[in-house]
Amino acid sequence: MARKNRFTQGILQRAPWHLADNQVTPESVFNDRRNIIKALGLGALGASLPGQVQAGLFDLFGEQTAKKPFTTQSLQYATPRQFTLSDAKTPEDKVTRHNNFYEFGTSKSDPFDNAQGFNVDPWTLVIDGLVDKPITLDLQALTKRFALEERTYRLRCVEAWSMVIPWVGFSLATLLKEAGVKQNATHVAFETLFDPEQMPGQKNRLMGGGIHYPYVEGLTIAEAMNELPFLAVGLYGKTLPPQNGAPIRLVVPWKYGFKSIKSVVRIRVLDKQPPTSWNQLAPNEYGFYANVNPEVDHPRWSQASERSIGEGGLFSAKRVPTQMFNGYGEFVADLYKNIDLRTFY
């Protein structure tokens, strides 16, 4: 049932990225429509209808007109051992089709459905604020300025599900060191692109889930300079698809997924804690720190366990105990030695 190899893997990694637009072609909506019609046993009915009526029938099923899928490119990167989880990876088609990215709609399938036309060229990422030399990166620079590496991290959503994802990118600390963080800096703020024309959730409150856009996130300087926070420009060996935060997104593996802000256009180094989107929306439910912590429940649900989304069909998921700091305690526990994690959740 799960379709593997929908995106060709492996081979593409070796191709120099500037040579090949890769052949990633998520299945066309047309195929899906046919399958749905077949499964409904409506094939014969459909065949007997004139084209116009068929189109109407498809609309009734909430299908959209077929869009050209977003094109991704293969990347070249090293694979350091230390950041590679041994857990089985979540298949690529699940990683790219189950997303929280309210800029494209609040349902898990909305980002895949609504973001394929997202234009990331041109893109500008600015690193400024309390730094010695502000940096501006254009789309090309995102994948060229720094040596890329692959890190396989577990992503734990605050909604109690998790995935294991091979990201490609570079560490946030590398970028910040290059910019030179000033002595008085205490925090780093991140901001997602604000472009209501491209992001329907920013235009329409009903679609955007009531978040105040642009989406903003933040880390303390100590957290940001830790080796784990990662600026991902790709996953599964290729540049990011829009639903996963193209062209560049943060990945903070020991914190709940909403900290891992997508489609970043600005990174500011500050001397105070920046406002962050979910924290502003519901401060009693989503803290600034948002460290994965099985002992501190969300006010409305338990965080003690999570559904691990892996290979296979509907009944193949596993429910596993959630680990403190999502299992990254050896890297980050020291950061919180003197902090009561119940108060600063």
Partner: protein
Amino acid sequence: MRLSPRHVFWLKVILHIVFLLPALYLIALVMTDNAGGDPVQYIIHYTGMGALNSLLVTLLISPIAKRAKLAALMQTRRLVGLYVFAYALLHIAAFISLDLLFAWGLLFEEVIKRPYILVGAAAFIIVTLLAVTSPHGIKRGLGKRWQSLHNWIYVVALFAPIHFYWSVKSEIIEPSIYMVLFVLLLYNRKAAIKKWLLLTR
């Protein structure tokens, strides 16, 4: 216009189709891998919305029957009510089997920990009681108490949208709309509700 038994029959057929199609569509989506990368949340949400929408329809039947003077419409209400139960059952079965993966300990922990699940569970228990007591034989056996029991649907009409509103992370507009719709439907019955509350006291 009066509805003949033939009309009612065909109306029932149409209602069955209307309520079965979404379930078939869900099955088709899941079978063809079109229910998102992780279909679990999709299925749970979809069946929950199915229950909520069916509930809205059951509560619409009597106001429409009254206003349009089509008493025979009332004969379709049991059918729709049973679809509320069916979708709610699927919703809960999906939650227990696909999300909790039959971790029963967790279920009890979760129900206690999550007030929105508690409210949903209460609504489901009521709907189950109503479904079980829906056959004509049982209805006759219960006499006057049957109506009193089935008025508990008013409580479900409050709990279900609260459960929805409470379960979402931030997208409160849609559940708010449902809340308003259900409050309006209940307001429309305020005399009956008042009487019921006085009787059951």
